[in-house]
Amino acid sequence: MLNKSRSFYLIPYLAWIVLFVIAPILLVAYYSLFNVEGSFTFDNYVKFFTPVYMRMTLSSFWYAFLITAISLLVAYPTAYLLTRTKHKQLWLLLIILPSWINLLLKAYAFIGLFGTYGLTNSVLEAIGIGKQQILFTDFSFIFVSVYIFIPFMILPIFNALEEMNPSLVYAARDLGASAWMTFRRVIFPLTISGVKAGCMAVFIPALSLFMITRLIAGNRVITLGTAIEQHFLVTQDWGMGSTIAVFLILAMAAMMLVTGNRKRGAADARKK
């Protein structure tokens, strides 16, 4: 009877996995082997390793890295200071609240804010710097991306900080460690899992952004995501789009393996 109820739970879930996890990946891999005319070929892969696509891949990784690094730099102090406040759950909620608002609306707001006659330019003019072209630049692209991803970086770091035993910090201070030393040797290593989770939550979506590149960066920045969207929905070259997708999936799998292995290593260390 136990087995029966077990399979009752397992079957719908397994069906979901087969249909929406395994099948799509296999289909993408399968489609990457066909060109526009629908004949079997490895051309897409050859094309991917030409300088055009390589440069795009590299710049995409570079932007994703920048976005992740800046998010982390801003998010860590924020999360840390949040844990020190009264009513921290309420403040945390207020940090997460903007992430509930549709991404598109936020991007749209920045079109207004960064526009030639927008608020930012008025402020710049008032200070005396003068009008700048902000929209459709790398700066605006990175700024808006960081803005959108920052709650996803703050949340795991905040949780990791909350889980940390505060007496460890007191102990370090009592033993004469400076504030910086305490942070570097005690607080940061203990919250590294949160940092990792946050970086994962930001880096991979940042690699594949495509809506922001269109609206904010005005097609100046082409990420892997933009390229996939272009191939699937505009040029209808599903084969090439799938090929790029295959490489994104591989990059993702590599990242998952790296973080997963480390976690296992940490668990082993704890057992010893």
Binding site: Y9, L10, P12, Y13, L14, W16, I17, L19, F20, V21, I22, I25, V28, V74, P77, T78, L81, L82, R84, T85, Q89, W91, I95, L97, P98, S99, W100, I101, N102, L103, L104, L105, K106, A107, Y108, A109, G112, L113, G115, Y117, G118, L119, I150, I204, S208, F210, R214, L215, G225, I228, E229, F232, L233, W238, G241, S242, A245, I249, M252, M256
Partner: protein, 266 residues
Amino acid sequence: MRAKNKWSNLYLVLVFVVLYAPIFYLMFYSFNSGGSMRNFESFTLDYYKEVFEDTRLLIIVLNTFVIALLSSAISTILGVMGAIAIHHIRSHRPKQTLLTLNNVLIVSPDVIIGASFLILFTIIGIKLGFVSVLLSHIAFSVPIVVIMVLPKLQEMSSTLIDAARDLGASSWQVLTRVVLPFIKPGIFAGFFMALTYSLDDFAVTFFVTGNGFSTLSVEIYSRARQGVSLSINALSTLIFLFTIILVVGYYFINQRNAKPSAKEGR
């Protein structure tokens, strides 16, 4: 020490200002009769009237909510089943495999989910539109629910179930009287997360939606590409207020749930 506090407060305030500035900027100009997001001329509610008279937009809003509620309800059921199934598995290897497969859709970029689902629906022969959007929203919400429910299941002591069985409870009673009440916070959290993901999703929907069907994100995207129109501002103000009501409600429900257990803990 006090000076330090001042700086840290300033930093937090700055973060909050930057986080909320775009949202309030949008809201502020939704009342501008000038017709653009600059030079505030005079107060008007015309754009709100425009929103409420725009039947196409209202239908899209309705679509978005129907998709969000339906998909998160269905994915919550599926996800809870999945979490229980994973929890039941004793051996290490299959459990890890299932968990990895579960997490694939969480870490996958939206564009890949969208593109691969587009291929999937085309091959199966599902017409792009309501059904395809609903299915894909269910699909990407399931793993989130599993992730939210699983820790609660692991927290639950197995002696609770043994006790219930010893006292003669059937499987169904064990599930509804013991397991589900215990993991209820996880289920709620999962449902809300699924709701958020669905309401917020743009990329996946953009891929799998056909010509006739559109959700709010896709509609805003196509309108924003044509330039600024203040009816979008008015709409976003309404959405923002709605979100706040939802979140505050959720917060108070959570508070009320948390309090008695905290007292018991003491």
